[in-house]
């Protein structure tokens, strides 16, 4: 029942957004916004002609069309690209989450480290991704030859996804590890539990609600990282690459750019829901008493 209601709400909002888009477009066309007779429509807000705002029907219709020189319908192409991007993003998500959790553990263990290291962890996120992505790609090609396998460009993309992923996990993981109440810590102390036992039986499980909040952010961030990374790295394949290509060909097929961007959004929603599903399985049974 709950799923049905949520789905209905989602579809309703989707229809509302589509209606808004179409309504605005129809309005702009009706008043002929190229005349600049209206201050906002066609200047602050986008122009409403088919190049700037392809009709919804064209964008969605694009999914089932076969582009020239291709043997697959467009939605199939996007799906393949999405799987490619998802693989890069997932590798980055796994590595980034592990690094984030390791940082959280270290910061929770040594308070001095928290004061010393945390500013750098935060500073790392103020550097624009677009600026460091090419550096990572170049490093990957020229320097990362100490790995037992040959470094591929998609691995650089995963590193970029890692870069966006570790941060929310580190920050929320730290909060989670510090979340047990004093009486719970004293309880473990009264049992003469050692550090590892306290970590495994109290601090880690207590951190899970915080961790899942972070993993949801990290999962969507890993997709963003992979898409931006693909654009910088010039790997063959992936949604980022696809979006870049459609942007070049914008004048001849604006609806394809819109469709590919929609595909990226759907991928982001997919990974978010995937983490939410795992969260329900793991934390769901704790009931209303669970933190956060």
């Amino acid at each position: 029942m709950r799923i049905a209601r949520q789905t209905a709400t989602f579809v309703l909002f989707l229809a509302l957004l589509a209606g808004l888009y179409t309504g605005y477009k129809a309005f702009g066309q009706a008043i002929d916004d190229r005349q600049h007779g209206w201050a906002v429509v066609g200047s602050v807000l986008p122009r409403t002609d088919d190049l700037n705002m392809p009709p919804i029907s064209e964008i969605f219709g694009q999914f089932w069309e076969t582009p020239g020189g291709q043997d697959r319908i467009y939605i199939r192409i996007l799906l393949d690209e999405a799987v490619f991007t998802l693989r890069e993003a997932f590798a980055g998500f796994l590595v980034g989450s592990a690094i984030g959790m390791a940082i959280a553990l270290a910061l929770a263990q040594w308070r001095r480290l928290e004061q010393g290291l945390l500013p750098y962890v935060i500073a790392s996120q103020t550097i624009p991704l677009i600026a460091i992505a090419p550096i990572i790609v170049i490093w990957g090609r020229k320097n990362f030859d100490f790995f037992p396998w040959e470094w591929q460009d998609w691995m650089s993309v995963s590193v970029i996804a890692t870069y966006l992923t570790f941060f929310p996990v580190a920050v929320n993981g730290l909060r989670g590890l510090q979340s047990p109440r004093p009486e719970n810590r004293e309880l473990m102390e009264s049992y003469a539990a050692n550090w590892g036992q306290t970590l495994w039986r109290l601090r880690l499980p207590a951190s899970l609600p915080y961790l899942f909040a972070a993993l949801k952010i990290a999962a969507t961030a890993s997709i963003v990282g992979a898409i931006v990374g693909e654009i910088s790295a010039g790997v063959e394949g992936g949604l980022g690459r696809r979006i870049l290509r459609e942007a070049f060909n914008y004048t001849t097929g604006p609806d394809r750019l819109f469709a590919s961007v929609l595909g990226a959004a759907v991928l982001g929603i997919f990974v978010f829901l995937a983490v939410t599903g795992v969260e329900r399985l793991v934390v769901g049974r704790w009931g209303r008493g669970a933190a956060a």
Binding site: R181, E183, N184, E186, L187, E189, S190, Y191, A192, A193, Q197, R201, L202, P205, A206, L208, V283, R285, W286, G287, R288, G289, A290, A291
Partner: protein, 255 residues
């Protein structure tokens, strides 16, 4: 041998700083095995601090605390204590049975032994049907009973309780007191129990330790001697006269 023997214990927080607080002074107390001792006194009289000294969660500034004939720290490492706090402190992510099994896991009991023990303990606190529930599905009183079951699961010789019924309503509270007395009689555990409530102290204990504040001292130790408690005990004139006696002692320490 005394279950607990405290000699000349003091506790000073932040010694030498402007925030220095003398929490406990000149505490001498000997508790026989199987006794039920309550600590009562106004806020800031150091009764929780005294409990923490006994449990070795805090160390005395001077003096000594011996438990079962050894230093309190050693007794903690030997797992001579069970503890229960004002909040049940159950782990949300564990089922009721798994919460009770937590200390047993830490002590390396086998899975079969843990299972058997947790179901025995659940029977003891009359929650046999709730083994697979999570704490959030239980009422406050039931959670507190699970916490007591957890504290008793490894049969510690001493149970230390810091206002465990403080957050419960009056009806649940009286029920829990009877439950605790029954468990105490059945297990022969030595009990040290911190409370704010005079009737609770008198109803539960063999001796009431009345404490005075700033710094915390033992002002009086009152033998209760009411024998086996029954439902009628709460209306017994002897019960009321002990309540009056403890109240008078408390009034004195508050000046």
């Amino acid at each position: 041998m005394n279950a607990i023997h405290i000699r000349g214990a003091t506790k000073v927080f932040n010694p030498g700083k402007s925030s220095q607080v003398e929490a406990l002074a000149d505490i001498d107390l000997a508790v026989e095995p199987g006794e039920f001792i309550t600590l009562i006194g106004p806020s800031g009289c150091g009764k929780s601090t005294l409990l923490r000294l006994i449990s070795s969660l805090a160390l005395p500034t001077t003096g000594s605390v011996e438990v079962n004939g050894k230093p309190a720290e050693q007794a903690r490492l030997d797992r001579d204590y069970g503890m229960a706090f004002q909040t049940s402190g159950l782990f949300d992510w564990r089922t009721v049975a798994k919460n009770i099994e937590l200390p047993l896991e830490l002590m390396g009991w086998s899975k079969a032994d843990r299972r058997r023990r947790s179901s025995e303990m659940l029977e003891l606190v009359k929650l046999g049907d709730f083994a697979k529930h999570h704490p959030s599905e239980l009422s406050g009183g039931m959670q507190q009973r699970v916490a007591i079951a957890r504290a008793l699961a490894f049969s510690p010789s001493i149970l230390l309780m810091d206002e465990p019924f403080g957050a419960l309503d009056e009806m649940t509270r009286e029920h829990m007191q009877d439950e605790l007395l029954r468990i105490w009689r059945d297990t022969g555990t030595t009990l040290v129990f911190v409370t704010h409530s005079i009737p609770e102290a008198v109803y539960l204990s063999t001796r009431v330790v009345v404490m005075s504040p700033r710094p915390g001292r033992i002002a009086a130790v009152i033998d209760v001697g009411l024998g086996d408690r029954q439902a009628s005990t709460r209306d017994d004139p002897a019960f009321f006269s002990k309540v009056t006696e403890v109240r008078a002692a408390l009034r004195e320490v508050e000046g």
